[in-house]
């Protein structure tokens, strides 16, 4: 069932599988970048430890800028630094950056074509107890509509580390979306990762439904696939870690193979990853599709897992969506 080329964590279906916050991988990646790329600088809006920028800030204080609680300044100062040849990584909570400073990102970074990296931590409803004010579930939409902006949603901490390192060399603006809670480590250091190239994690061939997921929903999609397999329904699971630029080749391949698509993300249905997939598929060979996400609602306090379940992103919900779309196929 597992695609051997992907070299996934052998324990992904094990209850004892290791769980690590996705943001940890960003902190590690940035720290490594400090040593290999002297143009890399880091800016933070008073959330150094929460966003794991402290690893870099402690080791390279001369390349770290604390702007205080000022997200508009965070990205515009970064734009000015990029104009002088730096590669700035800016971090805050996704709700504040890019939530509060969208126009500044548009004009001073994208319109100016400056390679500033927007790091949005604590994205999604899995932020948990902090409640709806702090749960960014519109950020993918905000960022992917901007020309030149690249959008990456790592599935786990390992992928976050690889994505962070890779983004330093693109020469483009980018948004990387991270989560707060501990989540399952799906991939390994040996797993292939290339920006803009989706990974088909299981059942690349003969699938009846193609599941496309991003972020920590990738693991839930895998659990759903395993349940479905036990019931005799074969589905593929694709990790669409890069939402922009969109890997249309892989999407077309899995969609054509299966003839039906279910997308799963921790984001509003409107404008997110599923929308991006739908926009592509509808212009060529549309297939029946189910977009799973938050249905035009705000979040609330709770534990990450119970919130995901409450808002319709439980493993059982994915199983149901697959069965529903299978009927639409016929």
């Amino acid at each position: 069932m597992l695609n051997p080329d992907q070299k996934l964590n052998s324990k992904i279906f094990d209850l004892q599988v290791e769980q690590v916050p996705i943001r940890d991988g960003f902190g590690q990646g940035l720290l490594e970048l400090g040593a290999i790329n002297e143009k890399v600088v880091a800016l933070c809006a008073d959330l150094v430890e929460s966003t794991r920028m402290n690893l870099f800030a402690d080791k390279y204080p001369e390349r770290f800028v604390e702007v205080g609680v000022a997200e508009q300044n965070l990205v515009t100062v970064a734009s000015g630094m990029a104009a002088m040849g730096k590669i700035p990584f800016t971090s805050s909570y996704a709700m504040f950056s890019p939530g509060r400073n969208w126009e500044q990102i548009r004009t001073t970074i994208c319109y100016n074509d400056r390679p500033v990296k927007i790091v949005g931590s604590h994205a999604g409803i899995s932020v948990g107890p902090d409640g709806g004010t702090h749960q960014a579930i519109e950020d993918i939409a905000l960022m992917r509509v901007l020309p030149r902006m690249e959008v990456v949603v790592p599935a786990d901490t390992v992928e976050a580390r690889k994505a962070t390192i890779a983004l330093a060399s693109t020469g483009k603006p980018a948004y990387i979306r991270l989560a707060r809670n501990k989540s399952v480590v799906v991939t390994t250091d040996e797993s292939p990762f290339t920006l803009g190239q989706a990974n088909i994690l299981i059942n690349p061939d003969q699938s009846e439904v193609a599941i496309i997921a991003c972020g920590q929903m990738v693991h839930r999609a895998l659990l759903a696939a395993k349940k479905l397999q036990a019931e005799g329904i074969v589905v593929s699971v694709t990790n669409l870690h890069t939402i922009k630029p969109l890997d249309t080749e892989t999407i077309e391949k899995v969609a054509r193979e299966a003839g039906a698509v279910v997308t799963v993300e921790e984001h509003q249905v409107a404008g997110g990853m599923g929308s991006a997939v739908a926009e592509f598929l509808v212009s060529g060979r549309p297939v029946p599709m189910e977009i799973m996400g938050i249905k035009d609602l705000f979040g609330q306090s709770g534990e990450p897992a119970e919130l995901l379940d409450h808002y319709g992103l439980a493993v059982a919900d994915i199983v149901e969506a697959v069965k529903k779309i299978q009927k639409r196929k016929k």
């Binding site: 205080g68 734009s79 000015g80 002088m84 074509d113």
Partner: protein, 289 residues
């Protein structure tokens, strides 16, 4: 003692007159755009580009150049006209302002005109970009950096919170290589600044934020040069030059009228304005004879 020779003053005054002429001509041809701000800031742009700035119009990407960040992008007719007269691109190109296919976009876009340091239009974001540039420079070269970052702002855009975030950060990092100039012309689209949102006491505000403050007559070349010289000599603090200017300066009918913030002269109004500027040029010459 005068800090400018009479020849230099006459040179700057005539240059400013030519730039004002180009601003009027380009606005009339464009049929839209802002009149008051560009005319009011012409003497400062002229002094900056023809006396203060370390730059080379033939090599706009020269690494060691000073940087000019225009924050209030809507006064770009003065930026374009000054750059053209300084030799960045042909003066004739000014007639393409705001037309389809032009390098001179309605608000500056550096993708179209790469010699611009940034794109601007939405207000309040220029000072923080200049802070980023100055910060980056000090990271690379320490406090002895030889480049200056000039940020040109309007008074109205001080109403944007983003500006004050930048003011705080500039002071925190002791960016003496950062020099901001505020076009204190007292007008904005809806009226006088003190009616829309009072900014005074402006100098006190900046002083209390740990900036070095210089208040000048923005139409007096000696004042302007003196302020830039002073600002360059300050250590450990950024400087703000609050330049009192007359919006629409140089054309009687446009002066001090906030109605002229956002509209261009008609062909007829332009003709009268150009005649007035020709007379003024004659006056500048005869005064210096």
């Amino acid at each position: 003692m005068s800090i400018l020779t009479d020849d230099k003053k006459e040179f700057l005054a005539l240059k400013a007159n030519n730039i004002r002429t180009s601003i009027i001509e380009s606005l009339v041809t464009a049929g839209s755009g802002h009149t008051a701000g560009p005319l009011g800031m012409t003497d400062i742009f002229t002094t900056l580009y023809f006396h203060i700035l370390k730059h080379d119009p033939q090599k706009p990407d020269w690494v060691d150049r000073d940087r000019v960040v225009l924050s209030n992008g809507h006064i770009c007719p003065v930026l374009y006209a000054t750059m053209a007269h300084a030799g960045y691109f042909p003066v004739a190109e000014l007639s393409t302002l705001r037309k389809f296919g032009t390098r001179l976009q309605g608000h500056p876009h550096r993708e179209y005109l790469p010699s611009l340091e940034t794109s601007s239009g939405p207000l309040g974001a220029g000072l923080s970009q200049a802070v980023g540039m100055a910060l980056s420079d000090q990271m690379d070269f320490g406090p002895n950096t030889s480049r200056y970052i000039y940020a040109l702002l309007s008074d109205g855009e001080l109403e944007e919170g983003n500006t004050w975030e930048a003011v705080m950060l500039g002071a925190k990092y002791k960016l003496h290589n950062l020099i901001a100039v505020i076009d204190r012309n007292n007008i904005q689209i809806d009226g006088y600044t003190e009616d829309i949102m009072p900014l005074e006491p402006l100098a006190d505000k900046f002083e209390s934020f740990n900036w070095h403050v210089i208040v000048i007559d923005g139409h007096n070349f000696e004042d302007i040069v003196d302020a830039f010289n002073q600002a360059q000599a300050v250590f450990g603090r950024p400087t703000v030059i609050i330049a009192n200017t007359i919006p629409g300066k140089g054309v009687h009918a446009f002066e001090r009228q906030y109605e002229w913030h956002g509209k261009p002269p008609t062909a007829e109004e332009g003709k009268k304005a150009l005649a007035e500027l020709r007379t003024l040029a004659g006056k500048i010459k005869s005064e210096n004879e």
